[in-house]
Symmetry: C2
Subunit: 314 residues, 2 copies
């Protein structure tokens, strides 16, 4: 597999700028420091995943396009791929857990994708996907372990530097498999990269510490961050992030909920749990925050009932 | 009192561009039509009122600045004036109803303004304000009946036209006293202006129909739109809007709540009731929506409990 490159991120940013307006960079006070939130929750599909989906699919050959794509996702990558597939007239089948947030299942279906459900925990989603790829002759669009996907996500970093007028000092990043973090590391070579994962699901942080892939434990704790639950990162992500990212940090469900309430009351943003992890780490003082720090708010797709419960419990 | 002018709006837009990034213009599908939402709820004080507050206060003379300002507001104008006053080092006293949303009272206080409470209904807020102006020798900053305030609010229209690359076909505007609507009418002389008011509080719509100021009825119905409850528009607003705006429309509480839920689920935006009135009219089919229509989402400052109740009741 080819390696993702900074030039690829720049090319992706150019392609994405032609179809999507840049998401806003909102000032935010973390204690006494004025930092910025990159509000990817305001993308048309409600998450940054639209970037990687677009860049991967628009790089398929004519022949690959006719055979369609398969993606595996708990929801946001699903919508990103489905959105891009509709724009480009490509068939998409998305393998999703039956217990994914209803709102994400419905939104993916509304974008015209075919949904293939699997049981989480229980079924191996990669096996389900492999079966679909085989049957259709389709291209698998991995949620993070793919050079185009990494480059596409990195386009957010190019937008940030353009709007700030300089490189951010540090990027605090919600982290599942490490696609966005790797893309931002390539986009902003002079910025510190902090990956934030849910407690017990810090497969990227542990891989950074060990210098090799680490799988999630056998009985991982539950987490409200449905978007940040991959089994492990991939070599292509680790290759970019090792010797580059700061040591990983983790956040608890309660810290994540506090960040969702903060985004609600101070920023008027609806943020899903996984999209609030980086903000949670900043508010909890688990990562340094200085003047040109940018906190990634990566998604806002959450069910009304759980969001209502979260904000009313403050 | 001088008349607000288009040149004044352009000057205000230039001044505001130097201190506040433009708010995003988000694509939104209203039925089968792709329109845009101007998300003023993402301003630092959570509402467009920061524009008028800034433009009025930055046009005070040196001597006026030393004596401070007084404003009357249920919350968003309060925060706009308090924000501008802090930026410019001016003392601000804000006359607010005791039953204003807690979140607005607290935010205004947090911005360093002094709060003077009055009873709504019961006390005459203009008398309370006049007393404060007299005692302090301060300048009254009216929430809508002021040429600089109108010009400041109009700066949103300049941003819209710049981002769209052309004038919007129509602007659908949440309307209290008519400050924003008048400013937008000056900013975008070729765009249709639709004012949207809460049922029973359509003092601008009625004034447009009668060609003269109409006061709200003696026993107006309750409304959840706390930001859209002035007793009447002012001659300076009516002067701009008459023979210019389309006939006014009204929305019910239920239509407003449906719009808040739509903004939550489709746009990931937290919108307060009064800030959702224009979107409510568009969704209910009470105003025409075409390709270059822009729907003003004017504020997002709402208590967690009432917002939770609204989204969970969908």
């Amino acid at each position: 597999m080819r390696k993702p490159t900074r030039q690829g991120v720049l090319d992706a940013a150019k392609s994405i700028a032609a179809i999507l307006p840049p998401t806003p960079l909102l000032p935010v006070d973390i204690g006494s420091v004025r930092a910025f939130v990159k509000a990817e929750s305001l993308q048309p599909v409600g998450a940054f995943k639209i970037r990687g989906g677009w860049w991967r699919l628009s790089n398929l050959s004519k022949e690959e396009r006719t055979r369609g794509v398969v993606a595996v996702s708990s929801g946001n990558h699903a919508q990103g791929v489905a959105w891009a597939a509709r724009q480009l007239g490509i068939d998409a089948a998305i393998v999703m857990p039956r217990n994914a947030p209803k709102v994400k299942l419905e939104a993916t279906r509304a974008l015209g994708a075919e949904i293939v459900l699997y049981e989480r925990p229980g079924e191996d989603r990669d096996e389900v996907a492999a079966r679909e790829v085989e049957a259709r002759g389709a291209t698998l669009v991995h949620a993070f372990g793919d050079p185009w996907v990494i480059e596409g996500q990195g386009s957010a970093g190019i937008e940030i530097a353009e709007k700030l007028g300089r490189a951010p000092s540090r990027l605090i990043v919600c982290c599942g498999g490490g696609g966005l973090a790797a893309g931002l590391a390539l986009a902003c070579p002079d910025s510190a990269i902090h990956v934030v994962e849910p407690h017990g699901w810090d497969t990227v942080g542990q891989a950074l510490a060990a210098g090799k892939i680490v799988r999630v434990g056998d009985n991982p704790p539950s987490t409200i961050c449905d978007a940040l639950q991959p089994d492990a990162t991939k070599p292509i992500n680790l290759e970019v992030l090792k010797n580059r990212a700061e040591p990983g940090v983790t956040v608890t469900d309660e810290e994540v909920r506090a960040a969702q309430r903060f985004a609600f009351s101070k920023l008027n943003l609806v943020v899903e749990p996984g999209g609030a992890a980086a903000l949670a780490a900043a508010l909890a003082g688990k990562v340094p925050v200085d003047k040109d720090t940018v906190i990634m708010v990566t998604g806002g797709n959450t069910d009304a009932d759980s969001f209502a419960e979260t904000i009313a419990s403050g």
